[in-house]
Symmetry: C6
């Protein structure tokens, strides 16, 4: 990760007000893990047309989001209250 990214606080908490915000956090954590591995935004932009038009990749993206979301939902006790 680029140094200035590493110093940045991007994940202060797993707590969100609603499940939908939890879903959005899951998406952003999934993307952050990709960016941690490939920090070069231009490369990521080049890759977008490939996976965004590939059914297998899109299905896999959903599975990855589901795994991040599972942790966020447990953290928020499933927003039961």
């Amino acid at each position: 990760m680029a140094e200035q990214d590493a110093a940045e606080t991007w994940l202060p908490s797993l707590m969100t007000e609603t499940p939908q915000e939890g879903f959005d956090l899951a998406i952003s954590m999934a993307r952050r893990a990709v960016k941690t591995t490939q920090p070069d935004v231009d490369t990521l932009k080049l890759l977008r047309p490939t996976y965004a038009a590939d059914a297998t990749d899109l299905i896999q993206v959903s599975g990855v989001a589901a795994t991040w979301f599972a942790t966020i939902a447990a953290a928020n006790e499933y927003w039961r209250d």
Copy 2:
């Protein structure tokens, strides 16, 4: 995600009356995660004949749904009462 989609409340809660509604919510969350990555509905329609007639993709879809469902089921305490 298109701006007006982002403002829309599509996930007010993880709670459902029955496991079957929980299953349906899992399917819709799985699809939403795909749409969050590929908002263009025409592209998604173009892809449908590919994955809907591909055994490996269909098996993967079921695995993704299972991961979303696991979280929804835990949220609803497995509809035990």
Copy 3:
């Protein structure tokens, strides 16, 4: 999903008498998720010779069943009593 399928109650509960029934329910939920994505039974029948004779697909099927089963087992408190 075809309208009459959607109205049908196929998942009244996650509770089963035995782990083996829980295993069978996991298999049927896994298959239901496929059918929700590809409702056309003829297409599914056409695909069967492909995945049922493909080692990678069969291994993936088992992994998918394991994920569905994990939720059903937790729902039934692992049939400990």
Copy 4:
């Protein structure tokens, strides 16, 4: 699944004496899920040389076993006593 297999009680319980027995049960449940999808033993024997000499398949087999084992371990409260 062949009718006489379906009637057979092969999974009376998830409880095992030791983690190693739990590991063995996970392997057999993983294989059972494959057999539920492909009951023809000859076909499975034909497939063996393929996956048993394929690194990607063997790694995937381990991941599948891990998912089955996770449920069995939780059922047995991790054999802590």
Copy 5:
């Protein structure tokens, strides 16, 4: 599995002193599941150059280890004390 392997007690417990030992146990359980499927060590040695120089396989190996580790960590209550 070769008979003498089956009789051998290789997994007396999931308990480890430290997370690092838990990580090592996860790696060995992951490898054991592979060996249960392919007991022939020569075949496994032949495969090593393939997966050990394949990015996709190496990423998959890490995911498999993570699944085994998740169970071991839960068994040890995350070594919180």
Copy 6:
């Protein structure tokens, strides 16, 4: 793993101060599992251009990180306090 690596204490605890540190630990555990399988750093460097410019691999990396993170988050009780 090289002997001197094996003796090194790299994972004293799963506890971290913040979710972000937990995310970083998940990334490092994911990489450690790869290094345990392929200790040769030069080989890993050779592989980097492949997976770091491959959408499918990058998505899979995120899924693997999510699985490691799930365990670390549970260990830290989701940093709720």
